[in-house]
Symmetry: C2
Subunit: 443 residues, 2 copies
């Protein structure tokens, strides 16, 4: 029995045992703190698949775990042979990029060595230029490679200014443990985002290809998407609801794949049969989109995309739905679609007079168009409206003209144009009209 | 100084201290083991985004961590109100599904209570029926809810037969810790797979829509995909390379969106200009696919898809590439595409005589078609070839006929047909021809 044994032990032997046990407890304590930190980090980051948010989470967790003032994660961009970071503590949000080998981060990223610099200004490897630019004072700095499961370096942690001291061996061990878990989740997020980008770019390419079958509707789906997204933004839709609406907008005319070209691009008036054939495109849109396996909120895409020709008074097609029978997204697309049709160049006419466009919309408020979303549509900043309208043709409107449009909204323009006095027009109206109708010399 | 103090302590006091420290070490040891197990599990599962593989990994890790004989993870399918599992230790692979409330797993999934049953056959909640069916003997069983970060139950762990005993409180604690991490990674994998399914179904729907513009090419892209995938499988391509090739196959004709319908569906012979216009579809395929943000191996898709009309002797279009200048995938698609064109019903003719198809292919081996892949194409089991050819029209070929086709390959058919003796034909040839040319009464 150990108790018996101990009673026969000398005081010296007992003291030695106490010391050994105390040492053991101390090792466990250190180890335990490390593991608990690690688990906390793991749980915090494990479900975040949005790369920006994930990087922010990791940086916050590392900063707290190491009791530091700041932490930045730089990731390696193999294709461009660069290190980059999107967000950093105490720095304006925005992407930072530099050559893969540059500076301390570059050294650690390429060699895999750890650099623990207790006094930066006494170390020739430290470049004080950045401190001079930002006004920050870097005292000590730990730069550590981030390795994935396969041992490959995918980036570095750079941790600044340990509170009340310098970075220790224990800090390095904590980072070492956080490294694999961070790298795993970053790779998951990257895969997820890559996949999403593939899908988004596919939908966008497809939409523009379909628009391009008729040269005069080029860019239509993209503009619809941008108008609809502005309405959704001003209506306070969540990021996810906005994404769903944007996808539905890009896909709203996919059914045109099934419409005969000679009808689609006919320059003269359509016969009643041809008009019916064109109308069938929304039904085909629904048929096509219904075959796609959408998940979550995306399940609403077929419904939203295929109701863009419904009208709130029930006079639309294909179903003749009324009011709230039409999904919100469909009601928004209806406004965006008609607006783009009126304000684009078409086969048989120029852009419609903006006064007439506004009069038609306001006449049909609450009849054809949802009152709430039409009101929100008029709140779009004029600057943004013009940028979307001109789109790819004029990607960069002159800054001086944009400035003159200031904070005026579409409603401000409407108020002037519908007041009817064609005499002295405010400058913002003249600027808008210069682009909308084209410069006099362009005509 | 503590050392000084200890030297003045009585033996009794020292003994008490030793005891206290020993207790402390013991607690740490238990805690430490739990944390280390948890980290091991976390690292193992953190990068797996394939749901089937992930579930297998989790089950293996839990079984080992708890020193049990078996572990199954059941997940909740909200839409179908069911519990399901795809793989389980000691059971044939395949999906198991049952109503959400059923059995012990259902009880735990719906109530969130833990069920630790030390002696199953003495417990009325245990249903011995499954043991009777599988021949397994369940002694003890721990069923534990799997909760995500938000505390929602997404499934249950069911662990069987602890080695040398029953499941303890410590086992439950380990499962509790593994639960969140498992749930996080399962949700990541589900999101990833959903997104992938969306993309795949989108590509497939689009391909079939484009094929359907011309009723007589309906199903073409899908068949190309299936033929190409058979060749890739027999050539030993990796799962990822096969997936890339399947996508390229589905997308190979996407450029036809840009081809005029009157040319696409013309029933009479094409004029040279019309033929040139049709040929432009591969260039348009490349233009469209090049705009898509593909990642990883998928970056090869535009190249593979747009070289399906190149020939290894340089007589193809649009580039006139030769041999290995054409990507492997393009060389495979070339075979699949021409084969499907010859063996499908077209505007101006019936299916081509199979003897002629084979003669043409073999005549052009090494000239138009890659020798290696053509040889592999002939190794496709005849059964599979027929299933792809008949496809959507006859999704279920009669089992008795399939059986008669046995293990014969396309090469076996070729050997008979090209030998020229039109006398007594083996049964498998007659079966094949019955479908290929249609039943006499069908004619």
């Amino acid at each position: 029995m150990p108790e018996k044994l101990q009673q026969n032990m000398s005081t010296d032997a007992l003291l030695q045992q106490v010391e050994a046990l105390q040492k053991r407890v101390k090792v466990f304590e250190g180890e335990h703190e490390k593991l608990v930190t690690l688990l906390k980090v793991t749980r915090t980051i494990a479900t975040e698949l949005n790369l920006d948010k994930l990087l922010k989470l990791i940086m916050d967790e590392v900063r707290d775990a190491l009791k530091a003032d700041r932490c930045t994660v730089f990731l390696i961009d193999e294709d461009r042979h660069e290190l980059w970071s999107k967000v950093a503590h105490g720095v304006q949000p925005g992407e930072i990029r530099f050559p893969l080998e540059k500076g301390i981060a570059g050294y650690v990223a390429t060699t895999g060595r750890v650099l623990n610099i207790p006094d930066c200004y006494a170390d020739s490897r430290f470049n004080p230029e950045i401190d001079r630019q930002t006004g920050y004072h870097t005292r000590c700095m730990l730069t550590f490679p981030m390795r994935n499961k396969r041992g490959e370096i995918i980036g570095v942690f750079q941790v600044l200014n340990k509170k009340g001291g310098v970075f220790t061996r224990q800090d390095e061990e904590i980072l070492d443990a956080i490294s694999i878990i961070s790298a795993s989740q970053i790779e998951n997020a990257q895969l997820y985002e890559e996949q999403e980008r593939t899908f988004e770019s596919f939908v966008e390419t497809l939409a523009s290809t379909i628009d391009a079958r008729d040269p005069l509707t080029a860019g239509h789906s993209r503009r619809i998407m941008l108008y609809a997204d502005e309405i959704a933004r001003l209506a306070g839709f969540s990021a996810e609801k906005r994404r769903v609406l944007r996808r539905a907008a890009l896909l709203h005319d996919i059914g045109k794949i099934g419409v005969r070209e000679n009808v689609l691009t006919k320059e003269s008036r359509l016969t009643p049969e041809e008009y019916e054939h064109i109308k069938s495109h929304v039904v085909i849109t629904r048929t096509i989109l219904s075959k796609i396996h959408f998940s979550g909120l995306n399940k609403e895409i077929p419904d939203i995309a295929s109701t863009h020709h419904e009208k709130v008074d029930g006079t639309g097609y294909p179903e003749g739905l009324r009011g709230e029978q039409i999904p919100e997204g469909g009601r928004i697309l209806a406004i965006a679609d008609v607006f783009d049709a009126m304000t684009s160049h078409r086969h048989y006419r120029d852009r419609m007079d903006m006064q007439k466009v506004l009069a038609l919309f306001l006449h049909d408020e609450g009849k054809k168009y949802d009152t709430r979303f039409l009101k929100i549509f008029l709140e779009i900043p004029l600057k943004r409206l013009l940028q979307i309208m001109e789109g790819e043709n004029r990607p960069f409107l002159p800054a001086e003209d944009l400035e003159k449009l200031g904070e005026f909204t579409f409603r401000d323009l409407a108020n002037i144009l519908l007041a009817g006095h064609r005499g002295v027009r405010p400058e913002f109206v003249r600027i808008f009209e210069k682009y909308y109708y084209g410069e006099p010399q362009d005509k």
